[in-house]
């Protein structure tokens, strides 16, 4: 017995080769997971803080519109996202949405439909009373914006995504810029000079020349934000916003999962969405299989769909009056 004691201890202090291999594999797996977790930590933090935002949308009182939130559509089923873009430069505590675009994504057929909603559209707001539709987000956040669009457009919205202007600039720069065909010169003598410090209410002149070109984030923002010298007013700007979205989608198709931490840090605090990772994955799959022929763009131009108005009835503001008899058939046909 005495003689076996040290031998047992010696044996116990040694590892069997099989155990050693298993232990080595386990340690590698553990350390590899830790390395990957550290790499994607910003994504996880953002995933918790910025994606999967819960919105409680008041029940709709419009026919054909389901109350939200709704159960997640089956994987691969089409879904509708309300894209919101805000002037988050600090002028308003609750920013207006300068850009509102309904986007329907069909992950299976890879078809995308976009319908821009004019920011000055005069509608009943879900928070009460009537006003420009860009105020819905300011008064009641994403839930109010969604409810207002649902009730007025008789469309069901599954998700929303909000991005601030500086977030858009950073995202486009992260993508290495975008390529667009500018159809006509975009000149503006009263472009807000509020992005890079300086006087918050200052303005400057900008000129984006026509033709195919590569735009960085700042110049892309000038292109989508300028509105004073566009013959189509805010409608022209909406069309430009859709062009830039498509250009971003083209560039995004070259990204991969390893780029996520950079994207998250670029959008830090400038992006919120109700979409979970499943939906984001669906969007990425559409982006990867992008074909411009599968994109339908709708802008509710003045004349047929809307008309201009102003006066005391609208708080002394210049507003856009919707022609629902024209808008609703188009919307319901494209956002069933």
């Amino acid at each position: 017995m005495e003689g076996r004691g040290p031998a047992r201890r010696r044996r116990a202090s040694r590892l069997h080769p099989v155990r050693l291999v298993l232990l080595t594999l386990f340690c590698l797996l553990l350390s590899g997971t830790a390395g990957a977790a550290a790499y994607f930590f910003p994504v996880v933090v953002a995933g918790v803080g910025q994606t999967g935002q819960t919105v409680v949308v008041p029940p709709s009182n419009s026919p054909g519109v389901k109350a939200t939130p709704t159960p997640l559509a089956a994987p691969g089923a089409p879904f509708t996202v309300l894209l919101l873009g805000s002037d988050d430069d600090g002028k308003n505590k609750s920013p207006l949405t300068q850009s509102m675009i309904l986007v329907r994504v069909d992950p299976v057929s890879k078809h995308v439909t976009m319908e821009s909603i004019p920011r000055d559209l005069w509608v009943p707001l879900s928070t009460g009373g009537s006003g420009k539709i860009d105020g819905a987000y300011a008064y009641g956040g994403a839930a109010a914006a969604i409810a207002t669009v649902q009730r007025n457009f008789h469309v069901h919205i599954d998700e929303y995504a909000w991005v601030g202007l500086t977030g858009l600039v950073k995202l486009i720069d992260l993508l290495g810029g975008i390529d667009v065909v500018v159809t006509n010169p975009v000149l503006d003598d009263a472009y807000p000079d509020d992005i890079n410090g300086g006087f918050l209410y200052g303005y400057k002149t900008v000129a984006v020349l026509p033709g195919a070109q590569h735009l960085d984030g700042a110049h892309a923002l000038q292109y989508v934000r300028s509105r004073h010298n566009d013959i189509n007013g805010d409608f022209g700007r909406s069309a430009r916003q859709q062009e830039v979205l498509l250009a971003m989608k083209v560039k995004a198709s070259t990204l991969n999962v390893a780029d996520l931490p950079d994207i998250v840090s670029a959008l830090s605090g400038k992006f919120k969405t109700s979409m979970g990772l499943d939906r984001v994955r669906s969007l990425l799959s559409v982006a990867n299989a992008f074909d411009p022929a599968n994109v339908k763009q709708i802008v509710l131009y003045a004349g047929l769909y809307t008309s201009y108005a102003n006066g005391p009835a609208y708080g002394g503001q210049s507003v856009i009056i919707p022609h629902w008899s024209q808008i609703l058939p188009v919307t319901s046909a494209n956002f069933p």
Partner: protein, 371 residues
């Protein structure tokens, strides 16, 4: 057999190294395409040697391309749209400031000879833009786009008109030559044909609220509208006239986010049937070679979206008797075409474009100046 303590000592650094390796490896998987920084042209070697000398722009800097190598010229600043004087002794280029832009006469080494316009002001709305300088064939007149007069009584904004001024004179002698369609951004890209006639691109809107670009001919003083040379729906712009003045290259988009590079015969008053040299993709700023046998233009290469310089031989059109068995169909008929002197050509096969630069991201809105 290895002692457990030794194994533990070995495992810790191994785990740290492997975990760090995974972290670093994931970093290497990032898309390299989109964030590829543009190289300075002088650090690159063009893959194709072009004849003559060409001036191009990258990120506000002027570059001379000669004998297969780039040389940076000119002072610092945000330069663009260089154009040659007819005697090829000087350049006129645009220098952008933060709120305005001005035209400068430069020598071929980029040294400023003379400031031609003064458009900056301490008051934001009194600043002006000047773009697209071009010198008339006799060297006497400078044509350009200028945002005057402003319509400050309506929504703040401005539109470009085509203006002309004596190259050796002053801006105060300038004369407005076109009346733009307001709130479309206005008129661009003048191509002087003589001291009084010129081509230009007008932007206008149709009944469906779509904005179009159209190449027009303005042939006499006092005519602020001119006559259309291309169909509105073709959305043609960025005209480039061949050195002998008989062919017009242009970019046509048809209202889409892709473009066609087209060439049409030009007899001084109208365009003949256009032929499509390239159909699809993003194409910009064609410029004719000094011998009129080829075109240079800009187009992106790869996923980075950098606009590179491309070269395309333009084989001459074989003029033949009109026949129903012509080898190719014209792209479209010009809106005012049908001049009796233009006959149906037999079209040669389109040559393959040759990429000249790689990874330099040249300014696509600054057509090459080539002689």
């Amino acid at each position: 057999m290895i002692a457990r303590r030794i194994a533990a000592l070995l495992f810790l650094p191994m785990m740290f190294a492997f975990g760090s390796g995974v972290y670093l490896y994931l970093g290497t998987l990032k898309s390299k395409v989109v964030k590829t920084p543009a190289k300075k042209p002088t650090a690159t070697k063009p893959e194709h040697v072009l004849p003559g000398t060409m001036f191009v722009v990258q990120d506000g800097r002027l570059f001379k391309l000669n004998n297969g190598s780039f040389t940076e010229i000119g002072p610092a600043g945000d330069w663009s749209q260089p154009t040659l004087t007819p005697d090829h002794t000087h350049l006129v280029a645009v220098l952008r400031g933060s709120l305005s832009s001005d035209l400068y006469l430069l020598d071929l080494n980029g040294q400023v000879v003379k400031r031609l316009t003064k458009n900056d002001s301490r008051y934001v709305q009194l600043n002006h833009w000047a773009f697209y300088p071009r010198v008339s064939p006799d060297g006497s007149t400078l044509y350009y786009s200028y945002d005057g007069p402003k319509h400050v009584d309506a929504a703040p904004g401005d539109d470009l008109s085509i203006w002309s001024m004596p190259l050796n004179g002053s801006q105060y002698q300038g004369r407005r030559r076109t009346d733009p369609y307001w709130y479309t951004g206005g008129d661009a890209s003048p191509i002087p044909l003589s001291a009084t006639a010129f081509l230009f691109v007008q932007h206008s809107i149709d009944s469906s609220t779509a904005v179009h670009s159209q190449i027009r001919l303005q042939s006499r003083l006092g005519d602020l509208v001119g006559k259309p040379l291309t169909n509105l729906a073709d959305d043609c712009s960025e005209p480039a006239l061949s050195p002998d003045g008989t062919q017009l290259a242009m970019i046509c988009t048809g209202g889409k986010q892709t473009a066609r590079l087209e060439v049409a015969p030009f007899n001084g008053t109208s365009l003949g049937p256009a032929r499509i040299l390239i159909d699809g993709g993003l194409l910009a700023s064609p410029a004719w070679s000094p011998d009129g046998q080829a075109l240079a233009y800009f187009a992106p290469s790869g996923g980075a979206g950098h606009f590179e310089l491309w070269w395309l031989a333009v084989p001459p059109v074989v003029v033949a008797t009109p026949t129903p068995t012509a080898t190719a169909t014209p792209a479209h008929s010009p809106s005012s075409g049908g001049a009796s002197s233009i006959v149906v050509p037999t079209l040669p096969p389109t040559p393959v474009p040759v990429q000249v630069t790689q990874g330099v991201d040249l300014s696509a809105t600054s057509p090459p100046a080539w002689y």
